[in-house]
């Protein structure tokens, strides 16, 4: 078994007296795509905030590449190679598409030259190439989500934390966003995807964790979780016909 890139051990997080996560243990190995799914209020966002350093852990341990990252801030983790793709199109609206990419490239240490790095990104996202001089806010929500994903790979990190990539997108764009994530996975990107769209997320992932009321109630290969109708129906409310 390879050493995990990211691991939490009995992680608990509380907002004042209210426990949002209790004893959550997850691990993501090199090259693996892991999905954390759950209904609204299951603790997904809290987990993401704790991992990216926005919320302090009450107890337990978080380790990235074998070293504890408790208490380290978001910018510090990003530079160390754990890049958070924020939910809700975290683009910088008054900056141009190009500037959004440029910042992502500049801030963290890079291996490729800028032109080389963006050439690959623009080849994959030709719409962004067309709009490189436009303000990010002038684009549609879907295009902005593409920009957020493109920005994450312009300077490839050791690992991606993808926060609710389907949030606020039309079904067509959700599909498009997941297509991009599938490509990332196929290229061997280590990813943790936190997502409400259970089926799409589990189809993408190698392994999955199901969160409910702040606890992991099931985990295992994504295909097995996906086949467990009882689990999906009871805890995730996916009885309705599957989405896009």
């Amino acid at each position: 078994m390879t050493a995990p890139v990211l691991e939490t051990r009995s992680l608990s997080v509380a907002y004042g007296p209210i426990r949002a996560l209790s004893g959550v243990s997850i691990r993501i190995a090199e090259g693996e795509t892991v999905a954390v799914v759950g209904a609204n209020g299951a603790g997904k966002t809290t987990l993401m905030k704790a991992l990216s350093g926005l919320l302090p852990a009450q107890s337990g341990e978080i380790a990235f590449q074998g070293r504890s990252i408790k208490g380290r801030g978001p910018h510090d983790l990003a530079r160390a190679g754990m890049l958070h793709v924020p939910e809700g199109r975290g683009t910088l609206g008054t900056l141009t598409v190009e500037e959004n990419l440029r910042i992502a490239y500049d801030v963290r240490p890079a291996r490729l030259g800028y032109d080389e790095a963006t050439a690959a990104v623009f080849a994959r996202f030709p719409r962004l190439a067309d709009r490189r001089r436009q303000r990010a806010s002038s684009m549609s929500g879907g295009e902005q989500q593409m920009l957020a994903l493109a920005r994450a790979i312009v300077n490839p990190p050791a690992m991606l934390l993808v926060d609710e990539p389907s949030l606020g997108l039309s079904p067509l764009m959700v599909k498009e966003a997941f297509n991009v994530l599938h490509e990332f996975r196929d290229r061997g990107t280590t990813m943790l995807v936190v997502e409400q769209n259970v089926r799409s997320a589990l189809r993408l992932a190698d392994r999955g964790y199901v969160l409910r009321q702040g606890e992991v109630i099931a985990s295992g290969p994504a295909a097995e979780l996906l086949a467990d109708d009882q689990l999906l129906n009871r805890y995730l409310g996916t009885r309705t016909k599957e989405g896009a």
Partner: protein, 275 residues
Amino acid sequence: MIQDYLFFTGINILLAWSVYVVLLTGNLSFAQGAFMAIGCYAAGIMTTRYGVPLAVAVPAAMLLSSAAAVLVGFPALRVRGIYLILVTVGVTFCVRIALENVAYTGGVEGLKGMSGTRLWHLGAAIAAVGLLLFLLSRSPLQRILDAVREDDRVAASLGVNLTYVKLLAFGAGAAIAGLAGALYGHYLIFVRPDNFDILVSIFVVLYVILGGVNNMWGPLLGATVMTLLPEFIRALQDWRPTMFGVAIVVMLLLRPEGLLKFRQPSARWSGHAGR
């Protein structure tokens, strides 16, 4: 007289730029008058009591203003928006009260005997600060400042150290205000704490809002117009604050981003963006 007009215009341009630099990270500071006071008193005490040459006292005063800003800013920049504005207002009051009550700084009587500022000193200071701001607007740092102003959470997620960037802007803004203060004191010969009333800080912020917040020319234009207009149109003298108020209301209705609202996207870093 003409010389005085030019002098006060120049001081106001520096102060407007000091507000602009802090505003680059999205923070509105009403403490620039206080940092100006610190610069003015620090340089004045050095030259009049310790015989330090003006050329040494001015940079030393800038450093002191900057250090004071970093000291205040380190805890204060954790709060945002309106709360940070209140903190900066508080700083302005604290500095003035301190200057009035400490014997060492001359109390309400003020400080006298400073001299030596020539108009060209101020001109050189404006040229130097202007050049630095121009170079900044073409540098990668400008983009990082823009990112922090736009959405600091997203900027942090990309790896931008918010504390560092915000402190840098706050410290640099205070250094510019301190420079203005040091030159101001040594021109006026005699200063008192009420030269640095909260109104100074408020007026300077208004110059910037009127002139435009998106580029370095807006504050320059705002400061120039709003300093000279009341001087040349005599009838407006007594109505200065009223005129300001009316101008702000009209501007916010007609041109909420200021007179000069352009921002040149990607003009900077043309080596890459140009193709």
